[in-house]
Symmetry: C2
Subunit: 411 residues, 2 copies
Amino acid sequence: MPDRTQRTVRDLRRGNRSALLRHLYFEGPLSRLELGRDTGLSAGSVSNVVGELIADGLVERAGVADSDGGRPRILLKVAAGYGHLVGVDVGETRVRVGLFDLDLTELAVTEHLLSDGGRDVDHVVRLVADGLRSVTADAGIEPATVLGVGVGVPGIVEQGWDSAVVHAQTIGWDAVPLGRLLRAGTRLPLYIENGAKTLGQAEMWFGAGRGARDAVIALIGSGVGACVVADGKPYRGATSSAGEWGHTTMRVGGRRCRCGARGCLEAYVGAASLLQRWRGAPAGMGEEAALAALSERAGHDQEAAALLDETAEYLGAGIADLVNLFNPERIVLGGWAGLLLGPRLLPAVRTAAAEYALRQPGRHASIELGQLGTDAVTVGAATLPLAHFLDSGGRAPSAAGNSAARTVRWA
Amino acid sequence: MPDRTQRTVRDLRRGNRSALLRHLYFEGPLSRLELGRDTGLSAGSVSNVVGELIADGLVERAGVADSDGGRPRILLKVAAGYGHLVGVDVGETRVRVGLFDLDLTELAVTEHLLSDGGRDVDHVVRLVADGLRSVTADAGIEPATVLGVGVGVPGIVEQGWDSAVVHAQTIGWDAVPLGRLLRAGTRLPLYIENGAKTLGQAEMWFGAGRGARDAVIALIGSGVGACVVADGKPYRGATSSAGEWGHTTMRVGGRRCRCGARGCLEAYVGAASLLQRWRGAPAGMGEEAALAALSERAGHDQEAAALLDETAEYLGAGIADLVNLFNPERIVLGGWAGLLLGPRLLPAVRTAAAEYALRQPGRHASIELGQLGTDAVTVGAATLPLAHFLDSGGRAPSAAGNSAARTVRWA
DNA sequence: ACAGTTTAAATCACGGCTTGAATTAAGGCG
DNA sequence: CGCCTTAATTCAAGCCGTGATTTAAACTGT
């Protein structure tokens, strides 16, 4: 089937509304003249489209630029109060629900700890629905102003034509029709996506990935994964499971990984694996605290230092794989373990990556530390409905008449 | 900068011309009614656009379907004789130039062997220009009917804004401004691309990849590389060097690769590496013949069999990396060594890939043998101008007034 | 041979959109 | 206040796709 993205003059207006909205959102405040120069639209078109966006309440004045003798420019911005967004982080240990305005300023947040690792699907679904009601009430907004709900989950999300189905091994979910289940609790548009991908999108929008077109967000936690962005768009693959970097082979026939294969990157650099192999691991300590202890001990303990040196080499080689295969301009190292170990390991990781990557792509790729912690899964999930809204030119889908989770679209 | 792909009603017509042309090209012959059904265009629009394409000579009648009592459907197809395409394969051992019609039927071909491994850039450029003249004369066509020249080269091609620059280590080329050099010999639009990528495109268009949207063409020769296709488009990366699969790490600190790094897949499964490690390698035999001998000897020689078993495991793990990272629906194993060893190794490769790949993406990916030999680099190169032509809706760029190689666009 | 029915394709009126040119708006300066 | 400069708006024109209508081309029955 041919690709049918634009075909009538109405699509033209929608495309140009989207282009102006996105440009204002990421680069604003801007004048109409700058919008025209940057987007290539004629002055008349900018005037027409901006006029419509202002009439719709999506765009507002943001001040006046000083004049050197001609007519002064009026600055414009996206109206932060036009609508609201909800972001949900469904994790192994908690369900976190946040309400944001269009600037992604957090207006309310609620969090529930899970005692069973998230295995009880119905319980999680109930917590999401309750959290949605709670943040809406806390912020004192009308539910009708919510443009959509983005949900990040710790597994693979298959985007079916009428529902999102989640496979999340770490919380024991197998083909859970989460879209349909959440639909029972709300009429708002739903956008369900892998949590690593929502965290990756957050880094791309306002973290270390900002401004890059081809990037990889490499996430190290207990497990290891990546979010690949190609030409500004997320790389999904045939069934949306692309980016399983943690299960690429670093040593054929090597250490057994919890996924079942041998020699996976995760079996060498995942926090769980590190702590398993560390003979000085303190007993009874949580994973994060234990890894912090390992990092601290590496300063004066040879075994801990050697373990982290080996980790840096494997990480560097794994990053070199990303460089050689994806040819990104930027690699962002994130995840709770990545942020914890990053400051100490990054120089050695860069050295190792330079050794294993081809010279030409390696020269073009910077390796940087992420800027956002794991709480950013929530705001990253809120970017899902926002991206959709911006892509549609600010014409949100109707909350009524929809019986399924929305197909997820990214920035 | 916002993505500005369509903005005026002229772009609408261009997009719809492109959609109809591509659909007719890949799926034709078809009636107007089928075109409308498949593309979603209204009957009136199909009538208008097809009428224009017929008037322009791009589309012609291809027969009439039988009628059951209503008006019979008229079948349409792209006019094979509308224009011509040239495909060039610049390799280590030869320069091959072919002239094709729009159906990619070969009308003439010429080939020159290289005695210096392609190191003399000026000599290669002269051979290309001479070959172009030669095939044009042999086929007895007007040069003005040639829509463009596609060139496949054995290295990384950086697509600059006004020229293609080639880095091809195997033929000793470092930052060769091939676009500018070839420009001196012809006014035709030039499209320069990595030969593995043109071969990959050929497999996608009329080989084992046909019909797939997310695929990887994995090429095994002396070296190892891949051509990644995402959502029907080639995955390029920031500087067009994506797909260097042969230099992903299979064993941290392992065998030294000719690229300088340790543990690369190429150091384990590339033909050059295999022959280097085979103690029974016959002296004075060419690479292809020697590999054929290895394959044949594996039937009754334990060492040869063990070497190929190890190769299958590394190949399977390398393919599993592609599955886990790119989530393709299809992996095509090609390249001269891949085609030679494929029939014998494919069962073991599939077994190994299933062991190393995650279950969910692994279940969705088929692993198949390529259908085209290395001569397909030439016809694959011819698909570059053709893809551009189809993408532009059949409005070819003017040959005059262009001082640089064209930015390459793929199917 | 003709009328009626069916299916395919062409034609037409209409509305929407962007563009470039012309006009209006809003400063600064003498 | 007039002139100049720069920003924004308005207007006429052309292009495009759509849905409704008309025309075209077959088949069947009388």
